[in-house]
């Protein structure tokens, strides 16, 4: 990557934000004793870069019409999104302890009617990306400058609707749309390779007419660099970013282990996980 352009201060700051995200999301899942840590941890660098650097948003005005949109198509990893929203001040930090509890704005899957900062309710896989396409079309037709980012699971691309959405993005030249695939290669039952091989994602996305980039989804230099490169995209091509990630990243005993897709840590595991993240120094 273009090392000479790297802003060390930014990277240090995003590294600190990522660490806070991981601690917050594990804290809320531990408190709820329910939730999805694996895919939340794999997406932490990406979500941190979006919410602490890239997105044009106003936490004090969550429905600001000109804001950039974020669609969490893989809705089950909402703990990472809720953490970003809490840390950006969309709601009081203590709210994280209400995750998945009755009456909470932090539902098991994102609910736009309850939670400020959620641009669309998601949770049923394969559907979010279509809504992002709708938002991007509205932005284009209204002559607005906002962009729409959508985070999609790699297993989620097994849903046919994802490809219906991508062909529409391509047809309508939605260069204001950025589709990020969290390519951690693990889904609910097993690895993607065992459950349903994804094939060559980069080639598939290119074939659907997207301007496709493949990056290390845990390397903040690569993430910020690719965002720099696509920021003023006026090519007429929607952007796809295949982020190679590790499920459970940052907690050694969760990394690449299928069980941690949707399981909460007990007290002892939580303490070990927090200590590891706190002690992480790269």
């Amino acid at each position: 990557m273009r090392q000479e352009l790297v802003d060390d201060t930014l990277i240090d700051s995003l590294r600190a934000s990522t660490k806070e995200l991981r601690k917050t999301l594990l804290t809320m899942i531990h408190a709820a004793q329910s939730g999805h840590p694996g895919g939340s941890l794999s997406a932490s660098e990406i979500v941190a870069t979006l919410y602490f650097h890239e997105l044009r948003i106003k936490p004090e005005d969550p429905r600001w019409p000109d804001r950039d949109r974020f669609v969490l198509s893989k809705g089950h990893v909402c703990p990472v999104l809720y953490s970003a929203l809490a840390l950006r001040g969309y709601f009081p930090y203590e709210t994280i302890y209400t995750l998945r509890k009755e009456g909470s704005m932090l539902q098991g899957h994102p609910d736009m009617k309850r939670c400020p900062g959620i641009d669309i309710s998601t949770g049923s896989l394969g559907q979010g990306l279509s809504t992002a396409v709708g938002m991007a079309i509205a932005g284009k037709r209204d002559g607005k400058g906002y962009r729409v980012f959508s985070l999609v699971g790699d297993g989620e691309t097994q849903e046919g609707q994802i490809w219906e959405a991508l062909q529409t993005a391509s047809k309508y030249k939605l260069d204001n749309l950025v589709v990020i695939i969290d390519n951690n290669n693990i889904q609910n039952d097993d690895t993607c390779s065992v459950v349903m091989p994804l094939g060559d994602l980069e080639a598939k996305l290119n074939a659907f007419g997207l301007w496709t980039h493949v990056i290390d989804g845990h390397d903040l230099v690569q993430i910020t660099s690719v965002f720099d490169r696509i920021r003023d995209n006026d090519s007429g091509l929607p952007v796809a970013i295949v982020a190679k990630t590790v499920k459970g990243k940052g907690v050694s005993f969760m990394e690449d282990v299928t069980n941690w897709h949707g399981q909460a840590p007990n007290d002892e595991e939580f303490a070990r996980a927090m200590a590891e993240i706190e002690g992480e120094s790269r």
Partner: protein, 312 residues
């Protein structure tokens, strides 16, 4: 009455949506490659900035509409009843009804009317399926004029609406001056013996049946229940009080449609007996529309017979 003038209600949708779109740039049409059949071609030609064709991809159409609605648009996803109610049912549930977004699902080919097309294209379960979704409103207008009025009422209403139209011509019943309100049944006649409640395009049949019954000195209360959800409870309760029996008539399976919606109220609050006339839990086939109705007892004779039975 054999040479009744009429037009398909899908044509009324085409006219109404064009008029709406010209007046309000927030009105969008999302087509799924059957705009020609669903009468949105003029809309697409005259208002390309408000038109999207996603191709043969109904699930995506629903999601795109939901995204547009979050940005203040009023999208009408336009397809056939089978696809609009079943191919994208879960998308409607998750991305439209749950977040309560202002999306309309506008469907032609409702009921047995795509008669020659056969069972695959005859949407006979649509209203029942949509009726089970929280936050959804379900409307089946009876004729051309009421379709135009109710499409406009749906556009003015802030929330999810399912609209059902016919492929084929149905008799003119109302005129441009008649007013319609979502959720409010139209009372065609007061009566003291029997109530006939109709939804959608079978209203013509019901009117003929009512006329025959009047010849037998049977007093008929006739209601057009164009909205089956939220159903006009007051109108059903008034029918329970005023008459000795209720007959529901619909071009839809008798399971979970108008008949079931009325039966829910009658079973909780009523003492009257009912007969549900509709598709008898079976698929259609390629055949003339009248034959398909006959095979399910959705006929003037069927209604008249049910009335005699109920009145003993």
């Amino acid at each position: 009455m054999s040479t009744i003038q009429g037009r398909a209600t899908r044509d009324a949708y085409g006219e109404a949506i064009l008029e709406l779109g010209r007046d309000d740039s927030r009105i969008y049409v999302i087509d799924c490659d059957i705009g020609r059949s669903c009468k949105t071609v003029e809309f697409a030609r005259q208002l390309p900035q408000q038109h999207i064709n996603v191709g043969i991809a109904e699930q995506n159409a629903c999601g795109v509409a939901a995204g547009l609605a979050t940005c203040g648009k009023i999208p009408f996803v336009t397809t056939y009843a089978v696809f609009g109610s079943m191919r994208m049912l879960e998308q409607i549930r998750q991305e439209v009804c749950y977040p309560e977004l202002n999306v309309k699902i506008a469907c032609s080919h409702g009921g047995l009317t795509p008669a020659n097309d056969g069972a695959s294209h005859q949407g006979i379960e649509d209203m029942g399926l949509l009726r089970t979704l929280a936050n959804m409103t379900v409307v089946a207008p009876a004729d051309f004029a009421s379709t135009k009025a109710l499409v406009k009422a749906a556009a003015a209403y802030d929330g999810p609406v399912y609209l059902r139209f016919t492929r084929d011509a149905v008799p003119f019943i109302y005129d441009d001056q008649d007013e319609f309100e979502i959720g409010k049944a139209v009372l065609h006649s007061e009566g003291t013996d029997i109530t006939i409640i109709s939804t959608g395009a079978v209203l013509g049949l019901c009117r003929r049946a009512a006329a025959q019954l009047e010849e037998w000195s049977i007093s008929v209360r006739l209601l057009d229940m164009h909205t089956i959800k939220p159903i006009d409870r007051e109108a059903v309760l008034a029918s329970i009080a005023a008459t000795k029996g209720i007959i529901t008539v619909e071009d839809h399976t008798i399971i979970n449609g108008l008949g079931s919606a009325v039966a829910e109220i009658v079973s909780e609050f009523g003492t009257v007996r009912m007969r549900r006339i509709g598709v008898q839990d079976q698929f259609g086939e390629s055949a003339p529309y009248e034959r398909l109705l006959e095979k399910n007892g959705i006929t003037v004779d069927g209604i008249v017979g049910a009335a005699h039975e109920l009145l003993g």
